[in-house]
Amino acid sequence: MSLRIVRAGPGETIQDAGRFGYLRYGIVSSGPMDWIAFRLANRALANPADAAAIEISRAGIEVVCEDAPLLVAFAGGGFVWEHEDARLPAAAVIMLQPGRRLRARAGAWGTWTYLAVAGGLDVPLVLGSRSTYARFAIGGLEGRALRADDVLRTRDHASDNVTEGTLRMPLLERSNAPVRVVLGPQDDYFTSAARTTFFSESYAISGRFDRMGYWLEGPALAHEAGFDIVSDGIPLGAIQVPGSGQPVILMADHQATGGYPKLGTLTRADVGRFAQHRPGERVRFAACTVDAAHRALREIYAALDETSLSASDEILGSSNLIGGVVDGT
């Protein structure tokens, strides 16, 4: 079974859970910007948690089903999804019939959404992963972003108990809650005033943002011990502060090591929610202990499990989306 890309913006790539084990060679893990939305879309199809899916930016995408009916799921920010001329909810499972088109475009909020297919996309594994890392031209389809006329094949799918329906997922709701941050590893490179400022003021997402990082704008953060450090490792969500004092949040395609002090790291629980912000939107941050971050992560895993069940229940009783009936959400 396969999907053909009819139209794709410049930032649409194939991602799986990530490419792990090669940071020591400078190769970052990549993977989805919003890992929770990505996992939910795969879960809704009973796919493996790391099945490759399409990551869609605000530039949107249009796909058409090529040869045989294909079960797909989408979830992410508040995008507008359309099946032929019917408006769909922002997160749903549908059966796409041959020749039928599915479109996504930016909606009320959010920056990323995911289109998963039953079985996952079938592209070659590169260093153990199907994630696209465009900077190094590896993974995904020929190491590049998707474009019109690309044909994506799907892998075999074992599960036959998935049906169409709206996905209602509390985890995906828009939230203005502060983004939680674990301090370190170089928080002691900053003045105490800088640490206070970072957690009491809000920061705007600037126009400079991509899969590598989000450059923020707000009150400058002063370094106490210089802004040049001997390079060390960088995790996903690191808050790196160069000499300008304006923080940069390092995202999925971040460099593996770097030489600027890092005030803290966004929690895994909140990094996807943070990624959904758009330029101009403001974010607040809250300090969080490692233990609290672990608890938050466990709650998300538990919620992912529950979502799967409640989604299935809803799917069974859902309206017929293919008939063009728009769900009330």
Binding site: Y25, P185, A256, V290
Partner: protein, 231 residues
């Protein structure tokens, strides 16, 4: 980056979010300090700790990734402390690598400029450069971007204040006390004195990476004909 004598104070355990711990041995570039990074890295790899997913050695620290659903932070630190006690005596034997490098035009784009700035002949620069051995300290910045050291003192040259035009893949570049080899074409603030025809990362090769962190590298001069043959 200042060098210092080795500092044998116990490392610090710093949180890099809730999924990684940075074992920081110091905050400078220093071979003895890097030995400790390598020893712990080897020990962690050999220990195959459940829930420890990846390690990243750098100049001065080892970053240890863990999965908090398998192992908690305090357990990771306890295991690392135990390994550190044993690793102190471990001397990791470096693998020896020889990398062919062409130091002739058009591959030695900045050699004349370096000679002029250092007031040394190009021949003398290459003699000093190729008679030294270099340790692979770390990768980073970009895939396959390797930091080697240290550069003989006679060849130390400050980094450019404004970046030069892009260098090709495999460029062998110097600045400050370091040598870097690039895995991809990029603009840099370094001086390109040669180029290797080998790809730092070649996924088609049986072992995709030409060297590992901790390896000891020598540079073997090759001529343009050999460069073409090996490309």
């Amino acid at each position: 980056m200042p060098a210092s004598s080795s500092n044998l104070s116990p490392p610090r355990f710093l949180d890099a979010g809730e999924s990684a711990i940075v074992v920081e041995f110091g905050r400078v570039v220093d071979a003895a300090l890097h030995d400790r990074v390598l020893a712990l890295d080897a020990a962690v790899t050999a220990a195959k700790i459940d829930g420890v997913t990846e390690t990243v050695p750098t100049y001065r620290s080892l970053m240890v990734y863990y999965d908090s659903t398998c192992i908690n932070r305090d357990e990771v630190i306890a295991r690392l402390e135990k390994l550190l006690a044993g690793a102190a005596s471990v001397r990791v034997q470096p693998k020896q690598r020889t990398i062919p490098v062409c130091f002739s035009a058009p591959h030695a784009q900045d050699l004349a400029e370096v000679a002029q700035r250092l007031q040394l002949s190009e021949e003398r620069i290459l003699e000093i450069f190729t008679s030294a051995k270099y340790r692979v300290y770390m990768f980073g910045f970009l895939p396959g971007f390797a930091y080697l050291g240290r550069l003989p003192k006679a060849l130390e040259i400050p980094r450019r204040t404004t970046p030069r035009s892009p260098t090709p893949m495999g460029a062998v570049q110097i600045a400050a006390e370091q040598v870097v080899i690039t895995g991809v074409a990029m603009t840099t603030g370094w001086y390109m004195i040669g180029q290797t025809p080998l790809r730092v990362i070649d996924l088609a090769r049986e072992s995709p990476f030409i060297f590992d962190v901790g390896d000891e590298v020598g540079f073997e001069p090759i001529d343009n004909a050999m460069f073409e043959r090996l490309t």
